[in-house]
Symmetry: C3
């Protein structure tokens, strides 16, 4: 796709400084841009790149525009405008509507006329697939599942029975939505399975990453609200609720019945224990271990940063005896008659 | 399914208090139950909910029964009885026996007459599938694999060649059983693959979660004993052995040749290093890092709980110097002529 | 396959001590070997097993050969020679070339004549599959992807559009290569997707484990160099670069734009933050959390080893107040007029 800068400015709602007839064919990073590309500057600290960029045009803020020597699109959110420009210049190819001959679609499924069902798919009875959906190759959609208009299942996605997905979902390969939760009842030394009778309800504009798994609820449902974005290889256990517009990075595990608020961010590799509440607007850095509810918005962390193996071993030998070390310190203080200052080291 | 309370009592082996003709159509949590539902009370601390529940009947212990104002089923294990009641009221739909027309089944495979092979499956030569098995859509079962009677592969499960699975297995979508272990031999700076000649042997009544991977052994087999329950996204490396009735939560990784005992529980996100032994009846809390063998039954933990980012940063700066801090403390003690009390801070 | 010891010696380039006519049918561990098997000894500490082994022959170093009472193959790298012997005795079965009748292969795909495309595969337009490739059942290869000669996709692998894979790749079931990276732009409280316009470029001799995910780049490509070995359930985010001959164990997560050097090893469960650099020849032990660049070759670690739950709780209560504890220590030192020795506890 080739677009003139004038058309891009109009579509993006940006003020244009420069020649509206300039042709743009792709987007690039500021430092690697070539003629014909559109770049962006979101961070004022990188202004120095403006002098040397070979981009035909740059999306930037009004403040940064003064430093730009080439054409510019003025935006109050350059990253967002850039994302949209990239989408305009590189639209997702739309497969032809219709059901591939190799797909197995039950006669009891209702598929919108303009939806596309890819090769080797399996669509069971009672399934509803909304207008404009693209179901890529190898997807399995079990009985009674519903997928809202404009959703895209890229390939090899498994949607288990009776799962409900809103409009404009994007679900990447290998995701499994609605498999049975891990519900076990003890029977002496044996475990017996607890039937998982809930389902998964997913709002609009949700993304689910590759090989991510979302379990169905035990008695009630697992709930993912509008605009939630889930990266790859995330595990969401039964009866978890995730609030609107929360974004979760890869390899996070969330145990059963945890409730995560709205507009939260969760870094990669975080583990969240079950049956706890995370308030709205909580941000958790990567590899943290969440063992308690978090009631106050803010930034939270745990996890031990990397050291040389030598230093780590030495410190871990001490950490094993940290309680004893603290007692020894107390003994010294007592001996010397010192009352430690309380203070800002202890929150 | 609708059952009378009398029939339920009989099937569950529970004493009935109340009208045997009461009809029950589903199960629910005590606080959310409606007429026609069966609830349960396993924790005496929640007795207060008995007064207000709208459930038609409640499964509870003899001790709690006195507090119940509606009909009751008396059980010494209410959670287990409830799980079974849920299964009776919501039986898994059984697909019709036979091989779906779109499945590719080798003539050298032996499929029990009453087994069901779903759409788009691939079943290779030498495979044996036992009586009553349900192989859901999109499963791949490679040459020589054997699956015991009554097993259910929900959908899109991959069973690699020569894997042996016992009776009544439940395997969730995306699981991969018997892929090659990660065996590498050094060749200068290059790595060369070590053929993985063992297989995976799985006992009866085992569950394997969605997108969980179990690698085949290098020379001997990877072994999963009877009644083991594995949640989603678990990685089991080659030559691991897991003892009977051990339950492992999601996102756990177990490195090669580790041996886990019987009746253990492993919390979510735990990492277990290779070539070590975990005794029977060991319980490991979530996100722990197991670097050594555990020879004594009990409860074990590691991992750093969440803090505010500010406090975490401050403490981590200190942790980096913990060994130095301990030396400073020792220097003070020496200066003061104090011999620290040994004690219960150090196990 | 049965081979004489003489033929094995020749094929492996090993000096033979013993009867070249001895027949070898399989390989085994030294302690479990039976007549007809070939074992190996790589670690001199295990020499004692040589006296009692029932192996017909053992691969070992010149130094260890003196202790061997049975036939021997002398190698300067017994593990490597053993791996190759295992490969000679247990060659991977080669499926017949050609395209399975159930596979859906676009007429615009170019498939080498001797390649094999398994049952239920989907191969889109523009795909190129090199000589001798084995594409197992259920694989999906999207438009424009290229797979080099001699590669093997075991089963149910997803290769997204335009991904480039070199020669002799081994990709295990459930792997997803080239799904969209997790690129989001803020739009008020909403997130908007950033199109992921790069791809994944993979060198020769690369292995990708079961259910591992490698995301495509945002603007530039994600790059995996020659000889990289990736275990199961690894998550590689967009624009990561991994240097040649680096090996990464299971359950590792690498965030966006991280660069890992050559010949590194990364233990299981490690998390690596985004936008940082790991030098060549860096080795990171399991479950570590890499929050900063590592510029010097060596061995690095973090993560808290397992303790009893009782001790862990006690130590964690102290760790929460570690900064305060350090301040208390400083107060004592000041009171006593002691300047702490600086030293080797602090690197």
């Amino acid at each position: 796709v080739t677009l003139s800068l004038g058309v891009l400015a109009e579509r993006l709602g940006c003020e244009l400084r420069g020649d509206p007839a300039l042709t743009i064919t792709t987007v690039a990073a500021l430092e690697r841009a070539t003629p014909g590309t559109l770049a962006f500057l979101a961070n004022p600290k990188l202004r120095r790149h403006l002098a040397s960029t070979r981009a035909s045009a740059v999306i930037l803020t009004p403040d940064d525009a003064a430093y730009c020597t080439c054409a510019a699109l003025i935006s109050h959110n350059p990253h967002l405008s850039f994302a949209r420009a990239a989408g305009l210049l590189h639209p997702e190819p739309a497969p032809a509507p219709g059901i591939h001959a190799s797909a197995v679609v039950d006669t009891g499924a209702r598929i919108a006329r303009d939806a596309s069902i890819g090769a080797q798919c399996v669509v069971a009875t009672g399934v509803e697939i909304g207008a404009g959906c693209v179901i890529g190759p190898g997807c399995i959609i079990e009985r009674g599942a519903r997928i809202g208009a404009g959703s895209r299942l890229v390939a090899r996605v498994t949607i288990c029975h009776d799962v409900v997905i809103g409009a404009r979902a994007l679900i990447l390969p290998g995701a499994v939505i609605g498999a049975d939760g891990f519900g076990l009842a003890r029977d002496g030394e044996r475990w017996e399975r607890v039937p998982q009778l809930g389902t998964v309800r997913i709002g609009d504009d949700v993304e689910v990453g590759a090989n991510t798994t979302l379990d169905r609820g035990a008695l009630e449902d697992t709930v993912i609200e509008d605009g939630v974005k889930l990266d790859n290889q995330i595990q969401i256990a039964h009866n978890v609720c995730i609030g609107a517009h929360t974004a979760i990075a890869g390899c996070v595990g969330i145990a059963g019945s945890a409730t995560i608020g709205q507009r939260c961010t969760v870094g990669g590799g975080v583990g969240i224990a079950g049956h706890l509440n995370i308030a709205d607007d909580v941000h958790i850095t990567g590899m943290s271990f969440v063992t308690r509810s978090v009631n106050t918005p803010g930034l939270y962390s745990s996890g031990m940063p990397l050291e040389t193996n030598t230093l780590w071993k030495r410190n871990m030998a001490r950490l094993r005896r940290l309680d004893q070390l603290a007692r020894r310190l107390h003994q010294l203080e007592t001996t010397m008659g010192i009352t430690p200052e309380q203070g800002h080291g202890d929150e």
